[in-house]
């Protein structure tokens, strides 16, 4: 049986999409990149980061959670939306303590990469100066919560891919943090370095120990090619 298709328009370009597909997936298939951080292709969408907000028939909607519908007109790469996205990125930077120069994820960090792609030069919002707990109790993995953007990828990956529910959220509002399924720390959980959850963090928050700085500057993931360029190039073939 062939999938039903619908036609939508993204930034003036007509795109065929499979019925039921989310807007962001349809855009990916068409080689159009919509910025994102909490979205991950192997995980169900949640709409935390809001970077993927597009205008659907004039209304702002998160493209990772909204399914395509016949005739939708979508604005994505507009100056208005990109300005809002830069501000949302700035919010993530001032919410945590992101010291890129000394961070071992620098160059491979998706948060940073979105900043590069969208042209965020400097976060000018006031710093919130949180100081959240580091968890180094696990032999192979650490959690540096000051770099957490609460995208929830690890929460979903651990529950749905690893079947472990090692992670969950705790608290609300600006006090919200990632918590682990143990009384004290990650070391008491079933977390294993081979788990999917250990490899989905978009920033330097949840990282494998003893492998930092292994790729020299100039050869890191986003040194030369913007995040999303793989999606844009895949479709041109």
């Amino acid at each position: 049986m062939r999938d039903k298709t619908v036609t939508i328009t993204i930034d003036g370009k007509q795109v065929e999409a499979k019925a039921g597909q989310k807007i962001i997936e349809a855009a990916d298939d068409a080689g159009i990149y919509i910025p994102r951080l909490c979205h991950h292709k192997d995980l169900p969408p949640r709409g935390h980061c809001r970077l993927c907000v597009v205008k659907v028939d004039g209304r702002p909607r998160s493209s990772c959670t909204i399914p395509v519908e016949e005739g939708m007109t979508i604005e994505n790469d507009t100056e208005e939306l990109n300005a809002h996205r830069r501000t949302v990125l700035e919010m993530m930077f001032v919410e945590g303590n992101h010291f890129c120069p000394s961070c071992e994820t620098s160059g491979n960090c998706e948060l940073q990469a979105e900043g590069y792609r969208l042209g965020m030069v400097v976060p000018k919002l006031p710093y919130i100066e949180t100081h959240r707990e580091v968890d180094a109790t696990h032999p192979d993995i650490f959690i540096n919560r000051d770099l957490c953007i609460l995208c929830g990828r690890c929460v979903r990956a651990s529950a749905l891919q690893d079947g472990k529910t090692v992670f969950a959220f705790e608290g609300r509002g600006i006090e919200k943090v990632i918590t682990v399924n143990a009384e004290h720390g990650l070391g008491e959980t079933l977390m294993d370095v081979a788990d999917a959850a250990a490899h989905v963090c978009p920033t330097g928050c949840l990282r494998t120990k003893r492998v930092g700085y292994s790729v020299p500057v100039g050869e890191r993931k986003y040194d030369h090619n913007p995040i999303g360029s793989e999606i844009e190039q895949a479709a041109s073939h």
């Binding site: 809001r50 907000v53 909204i66 949302v88 006031p126 919130i128 529910t165 705790e170 600006i174 918590t179």
Partner: protein
């Protein structure tokens, strides 16, 4: 001790069939018995409900009423919402702090009393007020405090205190919502129709949701009725958390039967057997009377099996007590909370009418809307729609508080002007009126001829009046504090943005801003309004944006000349360094000439 805790938690979990979707009830019960939710309790709850410890921690850390550290035997929650502070809540806090010798958020050494603050507790018409172990004490003065504290500490019954009275303050009953009603009338009339005809009647009435959003009730019901599922659910949203609103409280005190019957009619129409009233934790003191009213309804054959003698028409209602979270007034967050999770709003579609409670088609309506439904079925849609305006039919309950002589609940016809309202409540000199609470709009006299209606000034019912001497912008800041505290944290723009708005608005209010910083504040508002996931974030900038629009002169007056104002406050920034090194704070040379050297 751990052994005892184990037994208590086992017993409580058993009481709720070890059902993880009843985590809210289990956590409330454990909290009630043990005074707080320790890591030990959290682990035991998880074990008994067959879920992960992290899931329990996730849920309990979300709600304001759950404490994870030991609390006093008695908990005093002082409401410090805007209207309360206009009426002396700050002085009340001081009096309690002095009397108890502790600060807000602390517990007395003898472990007898914990003092906490609360967001709006739905008593703005009798402010300032507090909840002591869930019991409301209203219209307090600082001089009442010693007596209250003495009573609490000597273990007296709180509800015998003279201040333990919740007034209805029902100033004006209209023909629809608060008129006399005979239990079951509406149901008996509804069941003579087919479910499809009930919906036709609702279409004829043009009834719209009364919680604020104003979605047409008939089409919501129709969508829910036609959605396929194993079972359908009816939920009454009694979580009115918008500061300054208390009209649902009055309905639940005055005419709960109208609500029950509205829900029963919904059950009949969409085919549901289970109904739930999600009652805000702050209204816990209403639970007893509501349970009695429900029992009475069952006795009358209006709930339970074979309602009104119709074979197979089975429906009952249970009350789900909540635990303090404004966001749970949003219907998808409410459903999450009902399922025993943190109250995080879901992304839509799917809408609750398609996939709601336990992934089944679920109808969520506000308390007042269910009342409207009962009246529509009692008297007919035509009758209902003869009142009101083009797009807003019928009447609306307003909770009016703030600087007026006659605060309370008013049932008014849609279309009433603000001016007329102000006359009725005796507040004609109002400087500004907050329509729809913090998430609504602040308007000034030039707009007093506008009217309360979906097509003009929509409101869930909260009306707060600011008298001529009030510093309105300071209250807008307090609204901002409310949003920052109540943001669920799900999405970035709201979680971070609501806190940033406070920082930046403070700078403006303190005179530390120029036009440039005010423009940046407006841009920040724009991003939060565009990018947030749910109504909380989308409306959180409204207090700032509406006052910038309505009262630009109040902002102008605080702005500095020039096109830049530094965030650095040098004297403040040097204080810590001076103290630490034992040096005098000196005023740094700023010098005016263009060429300056050190």
């Amino acid at each position: 001790m751990p052994k005892e805790t184990t037994a208590i938690i086992e017993q409580i979990a058993h009481q709720f069939n070890n059902d993880p979707t009843r985590l809210m009830d289990v956590a409330r019960a454990v909290h009630g018995r043990l005074g707080h939710l320790s890591e030990l309790s959290i682990g035991l709850i998880a074990k008994n409900l067959g879920i992960h410890r992290a899931q329990v921690r996730d849920m309990v850390s979300f709600y304001a009423f759950f404490s994870r550290s030991p609390q006093g035997k008695n908990v005093i929650r002082i409401c410090t919402a805007v209207v309360e502070r206009m009426n002396g809540a700050d002085e009340l806090v001081e009096a309690f702090e002095k009397e108890l010798g502790i600060f807000l958020g602390e517990t007395t050494e003898d472990g007898k009393v914990t003092l906490e603050k609360a967001s709006c507790i739905g008593l703005s018409d009798q402010a300032p007020s507090v909840l002591v172990n869930g019991i409301a004490l209203t219209q307090l003065k600082p001089e009442d405090v010693p007596g209250i504290v003495a009573a609490i500490c000597s273990g007296d019954e709180i509800d015998t205190l003279p201040q333990a009275r919740v007034r209805k303050n029902l100033r004006q009953s209209g023909p629809i919502l608060l008129g006399p009603y005979e239990s079951g009338d509406a149901v008996r009339k509804a069941i003579r129709k087919t479910p499809a005809e009930v919906i036709i009647e609702l279409y004829a009435s043009h009834l719209r949701g009364c919680g604020g959003a104003g979605f047409p009730t008939a089409s919501k019901w129709e969508k829910c009725r036609t959605s396929k599922g194993e079972s359908h659910y009816v939920i009454c949203n009694a979580d009115e958390g918008e500061p300054g609103t208390f009209k649902d409280r009055v309905i639940l005190m005055e005419n709960p039967e109208l609500v029950f019957d509205g829900m029963t009619i919904a059950a009949f129409t969409i085919g549901a057997e289970e109904g739930m009233i999600y009652l805000r934790g702050e209204y816990d003191y209403l639970r007893g009377s509501l349970e009695r009213a429900l029992a009475n309804h069952r006795q009358l054959g209006l709930l339970g099996n074979n309602i009104c003698g119709i074979e197979g028409f089975n429906f009952d209602i249970r009350i789900q007590a909540a635990a303090g979270a404004y966001i749970c007034g949003e219907e998808s967050a409410l459903i999450e909370s009902l399922e025993g999770k943190r109250g995080a709003p879901r992304d839509r579609p799917p809408f609750p009418v398609e996939r709601g409670y336990k992934e089944q088609p679920t109808l969520v309506n506000n308390v007042e809307t269910f009342c409207g439904v009962s009246r529509v079925l009692e008297h007919g849609g035509q009758w209902f729609s003869r009142l009101g305006t083009e797009q807003s039919k019928g009447t609306k309950l307003l909770s009016i508080s703030g600087d007026c002589r006659l605060p309370g609940v008013y049932e008014v016809e849609y279309g009433i002007t603000v001016e007329k309202l102000l006359q009725q409540v005796d507040a004609e000199d109002a400087q500004a009126v907050q329509i729809g609470g913090p998430s609504g709009f602040c308007i000034g006299p030039k707009d007093y001829l506008r009217s309360i209606a979906f097509e003009d000034l929509p409101t869930g019912g909260s009306i707060i009046i600011f008298g001529p001497d009030r510093d309105i912008l300071e209250y807008m800041y307090q609204f901002g504090e409310f949003f920052a505290e109540e943001s669920c944290g799900w999405c970035v723009p709201c979680r971070v943005g609501t806190t940033l708005l406070l920082k930046d608005l403070r700078e403006v209010l303190d005179g530390h801003a120029t036009h440039r910083e005010l423009d940046e504040l407006k841009q920040l508002c724009g991003t939060i309004k565009t990018m947030s996931q749910c109504g909380l974030g989308l409306t959180a900038p409204n207090p700032i944006l509406s006052t910038i629009e309505q009262f630009p002169e109040l902002y102008e007056a605080r702005l500095q000349e020039g096109d830049y104002y530094p965030r650095l406050d040098l004297n403040k920034a040097l204080k810590a360094g001076c103290t630490a090194s034992g040096r005098e704070l000196f005023q740094i040379e700023t010098g005016e000439p263009a060429v300056t050297n050190s």
